[in-house]
């Protein structure tokens, strides 16, 4: 017989009273559960006086080395620490950064940037054109093994150097003198200036990088040229930045300090925002949208974000080597139902892979304007044309990374749509994120998650995904006509003519359907009302430089 410890005897009335009190207490807590979202005035005054902004980032950046940053988290923090030739203004506009002016040759192939005299590193050294040459060569040098060397492609020679066919010194960039940088391009690249705000185009301080090796990005060692300095960093934890007094435009920087808190769980970041521990959060759960709006009002910010939620189909392998089947899968998705009924009207349906961009209207395919039943009927006829029927249904696995409950729900809804509209059996299998990336890269997957955030507000950042030479073309899509149209578009200098070519490329993608576009992203932030200077923008990049703490925005 096991020993049992008896609970001390408590008289019945005492117990009843205790339980009742407990219940009351819980009920009281329940009432507090609906937060008004407002902080006490004293807390706000304290926050404003501190000049310290506490921001959220969805996970700890893998690196803070501009040559190696490939995630949006690194981009966010990196933009506070370094500054390229141009910088992104609060509304997403391009503003002069290290370069105070620039000119382009008549053929659009050669750019000259004039660096500003006050441009300084945080140790007092001048930022020179040589620093840019060093940094850019470093990105494409195979010895650096930068995961984003391909992005340098518009600069003459970049791809050959990245592939090890040419020495890094052959890169099309040259320091004419200490303050003049000349860049030669492969072809006239209309979006070249928007590339320059990316972290991989930012300069590094050569003596520091050479002396410290991989350790140069550590606090105390890092030398930067951005509005903030790296003060301290915990592994997978907070990143503390302080104002950089040597920054060329230091008087314009209003914040004294910035701390980035990496939190993967967006429920946790929302809770910390409500508790007053964070002034800004990146992303919250779509399920929470309604009650957050009710309790926080305009502290909830949603805005179009330059990205597309989509899937990819491997055109080299059965069953998706059949274009009719791919199209059937695309057309069988009830996009409006998904975005409006299941996702709280947060997103807009995507009928192509390019979101609406400043100066570019994406192609709207004919089927987008069919009513639901006609579209489903068309999908069914394509499905039959591909040789499938209820007697011989399509059975396929859709591989997706382990993600948020919201994404899981989207995939379940998609599977249900294919089953109900076509009779196709799609099994959704989740994979650990790195495993998924690996499987996708080696072409092991037939049908997979292929969401994409644009690197710059221009259609090529999306359309290039289907080019044969792109390592991120996981679909194995290879269409000579598409290559031709895209090559022509890159050479075209007239915007209207180029947009027509982009539309033509989009039409080819719609007909061949290597992608399955679903909806366009929306950025979603919680932002305290005392954080000023924030402007929603399609890059969803909000450098701390332009933010400040005040009760009301200043004119």
């Amino acid at each position: 017989m096991g020993r049992r410890v008896m609970p001390p005897r408590i008289a019945m009335p005492v117990r009843i009273v205790a339980v009742a009190l407990l219940a009351l207490w819980f009920a009281a807590c329940g009432n507090e559960q609906r937060p008004s979202g407002a902080l006490p005035a004293s807390a706000i005054a304290e926050r404003i006086a501190s000049g310290h902004l506490r921001r959220h980032v969805s996970s700890s950046p893998a690196t803070l080395d501009p040559a190696l940053i490939q995630d949006v988290m690194g981009m966010a923090v990196g933009s506070d620490l370094f500054e390229g030739l141009l910088r992104q203004g609060p509304a997403g506009q391009l503003l002069p950064g290290m370069a105070e002016r620039w000119e382009v040759s008549a053929d659009g192939m050669t750019w000259r940037f004039h660096l500003r005299e006050q441009a300084r590193w945080s140790n007092g050294d001048a930022v020179t054109a040589e620093n840019f040459v060093f940094a850019w060569r470093r990105v494409v040098d195979p010895a650096t093994a930068s995961p984003i060397a391909q992005q340098m492609a518009p600069v003459a020679g970049a791809l050959d150097i990245a592939a090890g066919r040419q020495p890094p010194e052959s890169l099309g960039v040259r320091a004419v003198d200490a303050r003049t940088l000349e860049v030669r391009l492969e072809s006239p690249t209309p979006y070249f200036l928007s590339l320059l705000i990316n972290t991989f185009m930012m300069p590094v301080h050569p003596p520091t990088v050479q002396r410290e090796g991989r350790a140069w990005t550590q606090p105390g060692k890092m030398v930067g040229n951005g509005p903030f300095l790296l003060r301290a960093r915990e592994i997978n934890g907070r990143i503390d930045l302080a104002r950089n007094p040597d920054y060329w435009d230091a008087p314009a920087v209003r914040l004294q300090a910035v701390t980035w808190f990496p939190l993967t769980d967006s429920a946790a970041s929302t809770a910390r925002f409500l508790a007053g521990d964070l002034d800004e959060t990146e992303r919250f759960q779509v399920e929470d949208l309604e009650w957050l709006r009710a309790s926080l009002g305009d502290q909830v910010r949603t805005a179009p974000y330059n990205g597309t939620v989509m899937l990819g189909m491997n055109v080299r392998r059965a069953p998706f080597d059949n274009a009719a089947l791919r199209r059937a899968m695309v057309l069988a998705v009830d996009r409006t139902l998904l975005t409006d009924q299941l996702l709280k009207r947060l997103y807009t349906p995507a009928h192509g892979i390019v979101p609406p961009l400043p100066g570019y209207d994406p192609l709207r395919p004919q089927w987008a304007d069919l009513d639901d039943e006609a579209r489903r009927e068309l999908a069914r006829s394509l499905y039959a044309q591909a040789g499938y029927s209820s007697a011989r249904p399509l059975e396929v696995e859709l591989a997706v990374p382990i993600g948020s409950p919201e994404m899981r729900r989207v995939f379940e809804a998609l599977a249900a749509m294919w089953r109900m509209n076509l009779g196709a059996e799609v099994r959704v299998i989740t994979e650990e994120f790195r495993v998924h990336q690996q499987n996708r890269r080696i072409g092991k997957l037939q049908f997979f998650w292929n969401g994409w955030i644009g690197d710059y507000p221009e259609a090529t950042t999306f359309l290039a995904l289907a080019l044969k030479s792109n390592p991120q073309n996981y679909m194995g899509f290879d269409d000579p006509e598409y290559e031709r149209v895209m090559a022509e578009a890159v050479r075209e200098t007239d915007e209207a003519a180029r947009n027509l070519l982009y539309n033509q490329a989009e039409r080819l993608l719609d007909e061949q359907a290597p992608f399955l576009p679903i909806y366009f992203y929306q950025s979603r932030h919680l932002l305290r009302s005392y954080v000023q200077g924030w402007r929603d923008n399609a890059n969803d990049l909000h450098p701390s430089r332009d933010l400040y703490l005040a009760l009301a925005p200043e004119p």
């Binding site: 096991g2 429920a267 759960q285 959704v428 989740t430």
Partner: protein
């Protein structure tokens, strides 16, 4: 004096089993087809949907019952696998003793130290996602406890008169183990089995919560919990219902297992 049987737990567990097995038959809905011709989702409670629907428009009651079915199925199969491995291993180690015992039990110690979650992730990477794999993975890990207990009991039985008598009579070790030792272990083994089931239910829930277990649209308590946790604030019932079921299931099994063990050991 033998402790009383926990009739409340037995009754609750039986009710849950009957509901899980028979419940979905009484509903015209299945666990995977959403109902989308609704003006607004999720649909609240009604006669057609006694608990309403989830955010995708699938009947919540049917899904809950299916999640109990799957969780219990995984628990039963995995526990049986662990039972078979654990008992054979433990009896062999306990009966032969000496060096065999040392080697076998050190192996158990080593397996104890293998971290479970990475182990399952590696398995899923190697063999892909399948419910069967979940059974094997959990079963292959949870036999260790049973093996230790069975070994201890076997060592105690090993030198009892009837075993010695069988040995003198010339019975082969295999025969002694199967006819004399294992039947005498059954009581404690069954008691531990009822204690393994709730552990496995929890493990399954944990794996499914991480997205490593049951794959959609199939559901289990872990999947329901993960889904509910995301809507904790907007729709707490989605978290509360599967949580209550899980707690009930685990509590009842534990209670019954405790009582069986006490009766047996007493």
């Amino acid at each position: 004096m033998k402790p009383r049987l926990p009739w409340f737990s037995i009754g609750a567990l039986a009710l849950l089993l009957v509901l899980a097995l028979a419940g979905p038959w009484f509903s015209p809905f299945d666990y995977y087809t959403p109902e989308w011709d609704q003006p607004d989702l999720p649909v609240g409670a009604s006669w057609a949907h006694p608990l309403g629907t989830d955010a995708l428009g699938r009947d919540l009651f049917v899904r809950l019952m299916w999640s109990c079915r799957i969780s219990l199925l995984v628990a039963l199969v995995a526990s049986l696998i662990s039972l078979v491995i654990g008992v054979s291993w433990g009896v062999a180690a306990g009966y032969f003793g000496g060096r065999t015992d040392a080697v076998m039990m050190r192996l158990v110690d080593i397996l104890y130290s293998v971290p479970f979650t990475p182990f399952v992730i590696v398995l899923t990477v190697l063999f892909g996602r399948h419910l069967l794999l979940l059974f094997v993975a959990i079963g292959a890990v949870s036999w260790l406890d049973i093996a230790r207990i069975v070994r201890g009991q076997t060592m105690a039985l090993r030198h009892r008169e009837f075993v010695v008598a069988a040995e003198i009579a010339g019975a082969a070790p295999w025969r002694i183990m199967s006819t004399h030792i294992v039947p005498n272990l059954m009581g404690i083994v069954i008691a531990y089995l009822t204690l393994t089931i709730p552990t496995v239910v929890l493990t399954e829930a944990f794996l499914s919560y991480l997205g490593l277990g049951a794959q959609s649209p199939l559901t289990s308590l872990g999947v329901m919990l993960a889904d509910g946790a995301a809507q904790m604030r907007s729709r707490p019932v989605m978290l509360v219902l599967p949580a209550v079921l899980l707690v009930m299931l685990v509590y009842c099994c534990n209670r019954i297992g405790d009582a069986l063990r006490d009766r047996h050991v007493a």
